[in-house]
């Protein structure tokens, strides 16, 4: 029954895709890689994951309450959950609990709410938190646990895991090592060359994710599949991941061909879960990436370039966080200069000329 008619204009019907649904679909796409990561790294990873995600949601609720609004509908849109989730996936799996809490606080409060909440932030909150943590707590953030799956002998049990996460077990050396990229970086400083370093590098294990790395960023195949599904569902544009991966592959190929002793092959670059995660899930964040297809290509290529540069010549073995933040700051500029052409106008906005017959 029509009561209180308010003039409303089209469209009266809509595509059935809401913000909440988009968030949940992204989470669904992350699910396999996350589950695999949690299994691989056992109880400490599960504790860290739960702590990070729940503190992200708590911080969000707190901020919303401070603004004098009801928190429930905002929490329900899943954006804080997704931010916490993405952050947890990029943390070292056995990091102490406070890393998760501090990271979630940085992401939600400094990365998102101080800008005005959902849709207003300049930088990707998860990446902002990750980079801040990496700079502030370099030891905790670069202690990589060995693969020690749940219920395997040799993996820490529940009680021991509790201590790893909550009391910071003193000597973790028996359980930890370096990631492939980190290893390459340290060995380079010993003047070794690549073919030597990579003697026991297994492409297959890296591909499925049986390797040291961030909590949910080890499996190339699972993250890649999740991303491909999101593209197919038209949740994320193809331009950013394709441009990003193609740029890294292109640059890596050129340098690898020039000097295969010091530059890793494009295959090694692409065959890492972290690369997939960044390309499909981090760089494609709506809020902090450009609006137009061309802009997205530029953005993706820029991210790829920076990742390659930082990985290859920078001080950090993995450059994704910095690359994303730098390109985030370029997004407004890209959007300013790369605009769609308006129908009937040229690129500068002047009306087209009437063609001479």
């Amino acid at each position: 029954m029509i009561t209180h008619h308010k003039p409303s204009s089209g469209a009266h019907v809509g595509a059935n895709k809401s913000v909440g649904q988009i968030m949940w679909q992204v989470i669904l796409a992350l699910m396999p890689a996350t589950a695999f990561g949690l299994w691989c790294f056992g109880w400490p990873a599960i504790f860290l994951f739960i702590i990070t995600v729940s503190s992200a949601m708590l911080f969000e609720a707190l901020c919303i309450r401070l603004k004098g609004r009801a928190a429930k509908p905002v929490i329900m849109d899943g954006s804080a959950l997704l931010t916490g989730w993405l952050l947890a996936m990029t943390l070292p799996p056995w990091a102490p609990w406070w890393i998760g809490v501090v990271g979630a606080g940085l992401a939600i409060i400094l990365g998102k709410q101080v800008y005005g909440g959902l849709g207003q932030n300049l930088f990707n909150p998860a990446m902002l938190a990750r980079v801040a943590l990496l700079i502030s707590f370099p030891i905790e953030m670069t202690t990589w646990a060995n693969v020690s799956p749940l219920f395997f002998s040799g993996s820490p049990g529940f009680a021991e895991s509790w201590r790893i996460t909550f009391s910071g077990l003193g000597n973790l050396d028996a359980y930890t090592g370096a990631t492939t990229l980190g290893y390459i970086k340290t060995e380079f400083s010993q003047n070794r060359v690549l073919p030597d370093i990579l003697n026991d590098y297994s492409a297959v294990l890296n591909f499925i994710g049986w390797t040291r790395g961030s909590l949910g960023e080890t499996s190339t195949i699972l993250l890649g599949l999740g991303g491909a599904w999101l593209i197919r569902e038209r949740i994320i544009p193809w331009q950013i991941p394709v441009a990003l991966l193609a740029t890294v592959a292109g640059l890596a190929s050129v340098f690898h061909l020039l000097d295969s002793d010091h530059y890793a092959s494009p295959f090694l670059h692409l065959n890492s879960g972290a690369m997939m995660c960044v390309a499909f899930f981090i760089a494609t964040d709506y809020v902090t990436s450009p609006n137009t297809a061309t802009g997205q290509l530029v953005f993706g290529a820029g991210c790829g370039l920076l990742i390659f540069v930082i990985r290859t010549w920078g001080a950090y073995p993995e450059g994704a966080g910095f690359a994303i933040l730098l390109m985030n700051s370029a997004t407004p500029l890209i959007d300013h200069y790369i605009r769609p052409r308006i129908y009937g106008r040229d690129r500068k906005g002047k009306p087209l000329e009437i063609p001479k017959p």
Partner: protein
């Protein structure tokens, strides 16, 4: 000793630069723009007095001296406020500006005596009529200054809001976006 050198050299530098500035100020002087005239030209010029000043010129002077906000002129509405703010380089929060409720005068034909007092004071000649004839207001020319209402001996002139017709109906602004429901 070094302190002495430092003080002397910096003093000399300061004097020299100051001298340069002085010379530049004298030779590169820009004639100050007659901002009051410019402001007065922008104002409606109907001397209606709704701003609280006795006319558009005094209002323009107050604006130029910074004694009046850019939103001073009710008939000008937000358009004029924007123009004034742009000219004076003021920050303007337009969400605070209330669009003037546009009123126009209307003659009640029953009580009009045709005294002609109203059309003598109308600043825009919006009232037509002749002695002993019922007067009428041309709504398009009326600026809502209420001067006629004040002089009408029979109170037959009243201010009415402008009638909404299909010609001037406009879409309303969608209600403010919510970033979560109000706390309840």
């Amino acid at each position: 000793m070094y302190v002495f050198y430092a003080i002397v050299s910096l003093t000399l530098l300061g004097l020299f630069l100051g001298l340069l500035l002085g010379i530049a100020g004298k030779y590169l002087k820009v004639e100050s723009s007659p901002i009051v005239d410019e402001l007065e030209a922008m104002l409606p010029g109907s001397q209606c007095g709704q701003c609280g000043f006795p006319g558009c010129r005094p209002a323009a002077e107050a604006l130029a001296e910074g004694n009046a906000p850019a939103t001073i002129c009710p008939p000008g509405g937000s358009t004029l406020a924007e123009q004034i703010a742009a000219l004076l380089g003021l920050d303007l929060d337009l969400s605070e500006v209330k669009e003037p409720e546009l009123l126009v005068a209307r003659v009640s034909e029953a009580t009009c005596t045709g005294c002609t007092r109203c059309f003598k004071v109308c600043p825009t000649d919006a009232i037509v009529g002749a002695p002993k004839q019922i007067h009428a207001v041309v709504a398009d020319a009326c600026i809502g200054c209420k001067k006629c209402v004040e002089v009408c001996p029979t109170e037959c002139l009243q201010m009415h809001p402008i009638e909404v017709t299909l010609r001037n109906w406009r879409w309303a602004k969608p209600s403010a976006p919510m970033t979560g429901n109000a706390l309840c």
